[in-house]
């Protein structure tokens, strides 16, 4: 008998079917060997597939949502799934079948359904009852680096104004060398006061 777990968020639900890994002494409720998954979106066709498809689809949604917020062009393309933005509110999803002669499934979802789907995937990632191989999302890695860079930028921003202030003082005061010549003044004084 297979275990079944469901994650719901408003109009989207994700169902995971699979078995526990008894060789690791796991509980009966646990799912480590996923045999099937189903993503149900209200008023849209059912999306289901093999375990090897779930990871890339989740990654696609996460990467796309990051792109959408970061002001970059929100386009994600892969062998399995393409996501493009029609505008800021509507997103085009093209799911390509691995089987030959099967037409790709095209879905249009809005921001509300996109956030529901992301929250379903979050619930799956955080569930202690399901163990899935978490693939590293490339956009999450440079964030720490970016934060580090931000700190460096802030540090430079802190130093640059006084640096420029000192430089401008030096430049400004050096120009007075041409206007003021102390030796000429001394000579003039000597001429006016010959004593």
């Amino acid at each position: 008998m297979q275990n079944k777990l469901s994650f719901h968020q408003s109009s989207v639900s994700l169902e995971i079917i699979g078995l526990p890994d008894y060789s690791n002494n796991e509980n009966k409720d646990q799912i480590s060997i996923i045999s099937q998954w189903k993503l149900t979106i209200v008023d849209k066709p059912l999306i289901e597939g093999k375990i090897e498809h779930l990871g890339p689809i989740m990654d696609a949604f996460y990467i796309y949502s990051n792109l959408l917020i970061k002001n970059e062009i929100p386009i994600y393309e892969s062998k399995l799934i393409d996501i493009k933005a029609d505008n800021l509110h509507i997103h085009n999803i093209v799911l390509k079948s691995s089987k030959a002669n099967v037409k790709p499934l095209v879905l249009k979802i809005g921001n509300s359904l996109l956030s529901d789907a992301i929250n379903c995937f979050d619930q799956l990632n955080e569930s202690p009852k399901v163990r899935i191989k978490k693939t590293d999302i490339p956009t999450q890695i440079p964030k720490k680096l970016k934060f580090g860079l931000n700190n460096k930028v802030k540090f430079f921003n802190f130093l640059i104004p006084p640096f420029f202030a000192i430089c401008s003082l030096i430049l400004f005061s050096s120009s007075f060398i041409y206007f003021y010549s102390p030796f000429e003044n001394i000579e003039k004084k000597e001429l006016t006061n010959p004593e």
């Binding site: 408003s10 921001n111 992301i118 990632n125 955080e126 931000n150």
Partner: protein, 111 residues
């Protein structure tokens, strides 16, 4: 941007606390956030929700922000503020999980 003449840097503890409050409030208000996002998807059918939200948003901005600032003026302009409001709502709606605090921080560093 605020109507305050005192510029204090936020402390790390205060930042963490604000993040926690924001995430908990977004969890609680998720159904409303979702409805506002949905109303903008089909503006002809659900324009009342979006218009009410935008009107209240502008009222609060006028009440608490420095209206003379150019950035605040952009927020008040109904033709220009749509994108920033939608993106802010999306960020809040993506951060309602248990790890929402970390997600919100990552989004803020990149925003």
């Amino acid at each position: 941007m605020r109507k305050s003449y005192v510029k204090n840097n936020i402390k790390v503890n205060e930042f963490e606390a604000l993040i926690k409050i924001t995430v908990e409030m977004s969890k609680y208000l998720y159904p409303f956030i979702r409805e506002i996002l949905k109303s903008k998807e089909d503006i002809k059918e659900n324009s009342i929700i979006w218009n009410d939200f935008n009107k209240r948003f502008i009222e609060l901005i006028k009440e608490r922000f420095n209206v003379d600032s150019i950035r605040v003026k952009k927020l008040l302009n109904q033709t220009e503020n749509g994108e920033i409001i939608i993106k802010s709502l999306l960020i809040l709606s993506f951060c309602i999980s248990n790890q929402g605090c970390q997600k919100l921080k990552n989004f803020l560093y990149d925003f």
